[in-house]
């Protein structure tokens, strides 16, 4: 049986003229497929909302509270395990130092002092070297090079910021 255009009328919920309505009624009497479609349309238009059992929001609050409690417990144990692991790691790494400190504290203090002095001397030397370079370098490099460098750095920063905004934008689909 040819269901056109009746099936399209029913599927598109078209507004029909009196003549079209009559044609559709005649077709529906002899076509079980289109008749079922018309019945489904009617059933869908008369649908009713179904409600949950009373106390839904109370049950939700209890569930939310339980979840919050579970999260707090998980965070507490997580923090405890993490602290213990980090402390264990630190003790394990620094065990030779502790050992030498316990065995000969004077030698250990002397070694520490000499390391601190050498670090301080290195930093001082680096600062002095840097100051000399900063005084001499601008004279060698022309101004336009500085402008180009600054423009490239600025462009790069802008690109970085826009990429961050674009790729971290949260989808609102669900």
């Amino acid at each position: 049986m040819d269901h056109r255009p009746f099936e399209d009328w029913l599927l598109n919920n078209q507004t029909l003229s009196a003549n079209e309505k009559q044609q559709l009624n005649v077709h529906l009497q002899g076509c079980s497929s289109c008749s079922a479609l018309a019945e489904v349309n009617l059933a869908l238009k008369s649908v009713k909302m179904i409600e949950s059992a009373t106390g839904f929001s109370d049950r939700f609050q209890a569930r939310l509270e339980a979840q919050k409690k579970a999260l707090r417990r998980r965070n507490f144990w997580g923090l405890l395990v993490l602290t213990f692991s980090v402390l264990s790691g630190l003790v394990w790494i620094s065990w030779p130092v502790f050992k030498s400190l316990i065995q000969s504290p004077v030698d250990w203090l002397a070694a520490c002092l000499s390391t601190a002095v050498s670090i301080w001397a290195s930093i001082e030397a680096l600062f002095q070297g840097g100051r000399v370079i900063l005084k001499v370098l601008p004279g060698f490099i022309p101004v336009y090079v500085w402008i180009v460098v600054l423009l490239i750095a600025g462009g790069w920063s802008l690109l970085w910021v826009f990429s961050l905004i674009k790729f971290t934008k949260i989808s609102q689909g669900a």
Partner: protein
């Protein structure tokens, strides 16, 4: 609507009471969507509760420019679709579910007989609905039960508007085929009943 926006904003700032107001406001449409999607009350209650929990956790991500109802229904629909996909390979009997979820007839209706017929129609529709693809089912429920526009359905289900239209057409055709099948079965069943004969 003004209340709703105020509650959303308060809830975004961490006000649990405001969120509870939103739960009370939307529990019916969310539960209804979950029930129509899953076909059984226990699963629907659990899915509706999970929907509100997910909404609570992701409230900071909600864009106030969009409809809160559509956002919430989108979470519910996706949750149910995921649940149905996970459940796909486990045994699932429509007849069993139909028995467990009879709707209570509306006693206040003017004609109880007409109401019973309407109830049977709704039950049959629910039975047919369970055979649809989960996304098609979500589209049908959002269109007819929640009165969402095709644009809102498209946003919620992450589809294009033409895709929603085509899914709604396909779903209604499939529903009609199932409807016809059930009608034939019910006729055969009535014909076979010995006490259905005029002789009795």
């Amino acid at each position: 609507m003004i209340d709703e926006m105020a509650w959303v904003q308060q809830a975004q700032k961490g006000d649990d009471e405001a969120f509870t107001n939103l739960v009370e406001m939307y529990q019916k449409p969310v539960y209804n969507l979950c029930y129509r999607m899953l076909g059984e009350p226990e699963g629907a209650e659990d899915a509706a509760q999970e929907t509100f929990l997910k909404a609570y956790q992701n409230l900071a991500r909600y864009d106030v420019e969009r409809s809160f109802a559509t956002w919430l229904l989108a979470i519910a629909a996706h949750h149910c679709i995921d649940k149905l996909r996970r459940k796909r390979f486990s045994s699932f009997s429509i007849d069993e579910d139909e028995e467990g979820q009879t709707e209570i007839p509306d006693r206040s209706a003017p004609d109880p007989e007409t109401e019973t017929v309407h109830q049977q129609t709704r039950e049959r529709l629910q039975g047919c609905l369970q055979s649809l693809d989960p996304t098609d089912r979500a589209a049908v429920v959002m269109r007819y039960w929640q009165d969402c526009s095709e644009v809102e359905i498209a946003q919620a289900l992450k589809l294009t508007v033409p895709a929603v239209k085509s899914r709604l057409h396909r779903a209604r055709r499939a529903l009609a085929d199932l409807w016809e099948e059930k009608e034939e079965k019910s006729h055969m069943h009535h014909e076979r009943k010995p006490y259905g004969s005029p002789a009795f």
